[in-house]
Symmetry: C2
Subunit: 259 residues, 2 copies
């Protein structure tokens, strides 16, 4: 009765990198069941919504407002779907919804919450080039809207010194033009000049562009907002092939004498 | 003519964590096209192979031998599929195949290589509990078959001090019984006692078991070979809910005063 009886369902789905063939049946089924949709317009466009399904498209920013609006509708009994690109748990809407629940009215805790994973950008980019994430790696958002820049610098130095491959999300935008160049500067102090750097834009989509540079020559201008940048470790290797793109991979093993 | 004309195709596919609803259409299509399959038996079992499709099941170890056998067949003109659990690029077969190409005969470089990404374990586990990977995180294999143990200790300390959430792959096995307990000891020196630790076993499968402990009380015995262990950062939070499992998430923001 009362609160419990009213509560609906909120699914947060990952549509993957944008190639429909990389969206899971689980995500499609969750979308098919839902009656109301919240998300960034281009992500909603990846679903073929029916006439009876309500679409609340919003700007790519405003994540917390969108999360609250979705929870409001779910708490009122609707079957709501929040739509993310990639995986909803990686720099995306699942954390925003959890934050809203943590700080919101009790009724939001009664909503049936389901997070449906998706292929996140670094996995799609890595697949297109070989296996750069074949050993220990990390994912770091370069957005200093989300955390102070000194923390980002410290994290980059720490993980590079520790030998992890680094996937950079949100590497660059009009409002954040210098951060990626600065990140390369920091990493050049720690990693060999020949370390492979992968610029993976729109992996799996029609406008895909995958390029490999060496750290010494890597430039921020190779990336845009749709790019995931993967920086190798000292172990990461490049395989050249006649008439085929290079492969980049990080070996599974580190021998005792390597360090 | 000659070498080029002979070369077949090698696709390395990720079947996801084991729930068929989490396997992408792209992976299914690659499997449908292939004529010969190489992989660990239980992963091959996830595909419904036709009578005309040849199955080479092998032990979960022997990754490099399996990669070589698959490349041999592809170089001879076969359409070969190497089958991984999760994502093939994360502690799995894509790196093994690249290693084999790097050190193998020239003809293996002519094989058309396609890596098809999948949902890796940490994403599936994270989805079942909220959004623990909502901010910067890393994936570390705890197997000291792959690298010397002192490197693992150093990496754990470095990433925990830097504030990254940690996903541990290969946390424990019969041959490696003490490493996870030792990892918890190291992390207790760096992280708060109340840091959430998620033990995610077989996420999305019938035998799923997801448990949350605090770092001070986390025990290696909560994990087995099929478990992905996610250790929060100092920012990671737990939301309690009446009659529903706790949610664990890492906020998207770190405020200036947090450090």
């Amino acid at each position: 009765m009362g609160r419990k009886a009213m509560s609906g369902r909120l699914s947060i789905i990952g549509t993957g990198p944008g190639n429909p063939e990389q969206m899971t049946p689980e995500a499609l089924a969750a979308a098919s069941d839902a009656t109301e949709f919240f998300g960034y317009g281009p992500y909603l466009d990846r679903l073929s919504l029916r006439a009876d399904q309500i679409r609340h498209a919003s700007d790519n920013r405003e994540e917390l407002d969108r999360a609250k609006a979705a929870l409001e509708r779910a708490a009122a009994g609707a079957n709501v779907c929040v739509v993310s690109g990639g995986d909803p748990g990686v720099f995306a809407m699942a954390a925003a919804v959890c934050e809203a629940i943590d700080n919101g009215p009790d009724a939001w805790r009664d909503v049936d919450l389901v997070v449906v994973p998706g292929i996140t950008a670094m996995l799609a980019v890595a697949a297109r080039i070989g296996a750069p994430l074949g050993h220990d790696f990390c994912a770091i958002s370069l957005s200093d809207n989300l955390k102070p820049w000194p923390i980002i610098e410290n994290r980059l130095r720490s993980v590079a010194q520790a030998g992890l491959v680094i996937a950079l999300y949100n590497p660059i935008s009009k409002a954040r033009p210098w951060q990626l160049g600065k990140a390369f500067e920091i990493l050049r102090e720690v990693l060999p000049a020949a370390t492979p750097v992968i610029f993976g834009r729109a992996a799996g989509r029609a406008d895909e562009r995958i390029a490999v540079a060496r750290l010494a020559a890597a430039e921020a201008s190779y990336a845009d907002m749709a790019t995931c940048v993967i920086i190798g470790s000292a172990e990461t290797r490049v395989i050249t092939r006649d008439g085929k793109p290079d492969l980049v991979y990080t070996p599974r093993f580190i021998k005792e004498e390597a360090r």
